[in-house]
Subunit: 469 residues, 2 copies
């Protein structure tokens, strides 16, 4: 029997390990080929490979990771308040401090959209009256910068949080932990995408003067705070993955707030309802604050290899690991595979940016992609691709959500708790759904798509993990 | 080669037509068996079978059905107004007329929940001051009855529409057609399920006095009427099939109405928003009115075998066919396979009831079940069962929605336009998702589940269709 005969024999199945090119001859001959997407562990680094092998299956690590997962899942993120950022963190006003997305970065290294957002925030706070004067302040060290994550805060895209911005306050009653995000500006020309102009500033001022106060009064008037995990669980039954698609959660939250907001006529409640009626991204910042709160509860467990934060400043991306303290393990920010608005293309795109990937760290976004196949269409994918992504992510997590369930996977919990070991052992990179900002300051959003966390962050974390290598 | 050898040979595939028992020996021998769920055409009626054979593939019928589909899909159901029912149909007040769900039925033959709803409506309208006096009126011919469908109206469950109830008015701008439904009371103890009591009447009075007027003012204040098909299309991306699950559509519609309602403080707008925040069934009656409008546009095309209405009065179910005038082709109402609230079981259940199956006729409900796998859990089914149901329904329809797409089927349009021929030729009965009412008057909803349209309705329609048999 020749190889050709063999390949043409009924039901012959070929398993191809490694390069996809090797499959072609077998497929041409009619065989059923299963591509085994095998990559060498620890990205082929031999010394790290031995270290990884010693950590995989380590019962102390497994146990630490289980404890992290239990802490994360136990958090009930309740939306308890809306407050101006300077009330939560006075140094924002007192020290001219601006918070930004991602790992630490100074003005000199900031990408275009983040610089534009810095200028916008300086104008918003009245620190300067022209973008040029604002730039002078920033370039001469008259503005301080720090990551949002340093203060249990998260901001999408550029993630610039300044003194007068209203913040969502989320609290876990049992641990007493709190986390924060700013309010979502909607789509189109927004500060977070680095758009700059009177329209952007006008909206931000209205958000500080009217939206924030009316929301504060409304949320304080509720008999019980809204549990955001309940909203997330419902929304994941309704086509959201609560990172790049928030249509259901936004509508559910707005419906719940409608009567309390309607009572705040003098503070701007009706304007707020008009704004919310058109903002399908409204819930994103709530999802992020909830994720930050839950992952903060899971941070600081000795020997745990679970990722508790992943964030991008548009130049670098970085992750934190529960058992590895406050260090960011970084890599250059990758590009985003996406659908571009008419007139734009990959050459216009800023690399991956924003704190919003805390959603993925919390088992939403790319991990819950099976719930939101509409997103995959952005990159020419199918519903089956979306389902497969959630299945793949289940191979690199330490467990599954109990309340947040994926209908397309027969209501299995969404995978949660990225294990550094599993990522390096499998070669499966965590998927992220995200928006795309123009790299030039002042323009704004030009698309949306999917990217992945670079393996180098995980290698850096593995290097830092206690143990021989 | 023995039969055993044959069965053990690789890739042998057995197609079993008919009784499932015949598959067992082949399966035991390791063969891959495809069960062909074959049933004799026209339910085994030989004469009708010949007639059916002459109609299947008839190009004149195919053409008529295509025209029906185009008319149905062309309808843009815009929500233009809310008006008291007696303004739309004065005889409701002038002649003490009550409309009911399903084909025509008199007081003597009405089921328990419909009788209870009649008594409640008589109390609501002030025709009697006790249920006993109301019953005397009904039993002595002092109340007139007619089907909702006679007036382009539809009511869920008992479907009792009386003079003071506010009606949703839906209009298609091109044809000028209008259709109507009443407002949804929410879940729990409701008139439509035959619950009776001060709580039920109190809510209905509030709906007439406050909800209706505030909604009327809000909807009239919109710059553009809301296109309900747009809401349906979004909701089917969000886990709704817009019959038994309306969570997304209800939230979307409420969000859109929130600011306009908030402005109607004096008329009850804020109370309305409180009510809407807790009503996940709110959109059902809008879905029904939209479906009735679209199917009315498709009715009356000569030679068409497309079902344009299917409705149940709790005793009988009946359907209308585009090419067969106003006649109802009826059969006894079937039971519903469902999940019961604690303390109730199938013995307590009224047979299938309500006009709401107009949703299925319009390609929603069971036809869009792939979008709403949560519903299938009611009857112990899986997500795959839900997907399969939509696939099966595609075999008995004349086409697919363009705007209403099913994510789980790679965004294929939901199947729409039930073809009497295809149902009888395939033996596939149309699936219906529905609520379950207690058979005893006055109790209300006791569960929810899935049922099917009986084949006898389709046989009756085939008998009436012009042609030899």
């Amino acid at each position: 029997m020749s190889v050709g005969d063999l390949l043409r024999a009924p039901r012959l199945t070929v398993v191809n390990v490694g390069l996809a090119e090797f499959s072609a001859p077998a497929q041409a001959a009619g065989a059923e080929v299963t591509e085994l997407d095998w990559r060498p562990p620890a990205a082929g680094d031999a010394a790290l490979g031995w270290k990884l092998a010693s950590l995989v299956g380590d019962p102390a690590i497994d146990d630490a990771n289980r404890r992290v997962l239990e802490r994360v899942l136990a958090v009930q993120p309740r939306w308890v308040d809306v407050r101006p950022a300077a009330e939560v963190l006075p140094s924002l006003a007192e020290q001219r401090l601006l918070l930004h997305a991602g790992p630490p970065i100074g003005w000199e290294r900031m990408c275009g959209p983040m610089r534009a957002a810095v200028l916008g925030a300086a104008l918003l706070e009245g620190w300067a009256d022209t973008p040029e004067r604002a730039e002078l302040l920033a370039a001469t060290g008259k503005i301080e910068f720090a990551p949002c994550h340093d203060f249990a805060m998260v901001g999408p895209m550029a993630g610039i949080i300044s003194a007068s911005q209203p913040l969502i306050v989320v609290e876990d009653a049992v641990t007493g932990l709190r986390a924060y995000s700013n309010l979502n500006e909607g789509r189109g020309r927004c500060l977070r995408y680095g758009a700059l102009g009177d329209d952007v500033l006008h909206r931000l001022r209205w958000m500080s003067d009217r939206l924030g106060p009316s929301l504060q009064a409304a949320v304080r008037s509720l008999a019980e705070p809204i549990n955001l995990k309940t909203v997330i669980a419902q929304a994941v039954q309704m086509g959201d993955e609560c990172h790049s698609r928030n249509n259901a959660a936004s509508a559910l939250l707005t419906r719940q707030l409608a009567a309390p907001l309607a009572r705040q006529t003098d503070l701007g409640g009706i304007e707020a309802l008009e704004f919310l009626a058109g903002n399908d991204y409204w819930f994103l910042n709530f999802s992020m604050a909830a994720g930050k709160l839950a992952m903060t509860a899971g941070h600081g467990v000795d020997r745990s290899t679970v990722v508790t934060a992943y964030a991008r400043n548009g130049v670098e991306v970085g992750l934190r690991v529960s058992g590895l303290g406050q260090e960011w393990f970084t890599a250059p920010a990758p590009p985003v595979d996406g659908l571009y608005f008419p007139g734009y293309g990959p050459g216009d795109a800023n690399p991956d940016i924003g704190d919003s990937a805390i959603a993925e760290v919390y088992g939403l976004g790319g991990f819950a992609l099976a719930a939101a196949p509409a997103i995959v269409g952005f990159v020419g994918g199918t519903t089956q691709d979306a389902v497969r992504t959630s299945v793949d992510m289940g191979a690199i997590t330490v467990g599954r959500h109990r309340d947040v369930q994926l209908p397309a996977l027969e209501f299995a919990g969404s995978p949660v708790g990225i294990d550094v070991r599993a990522v390096l052992d499998s070669g499966i990179r965590p998927a992220i759904t995200t928006g795309i900002a123009h790299r030039t300051p002042g323009i704004g959003q030009i698309g949306a798509g999917i990217t992945h966390m670079p393996v180098d962050c995980f290698l850096a974390a593995l290097r830092a993990f206690p143990g021989e290598s």
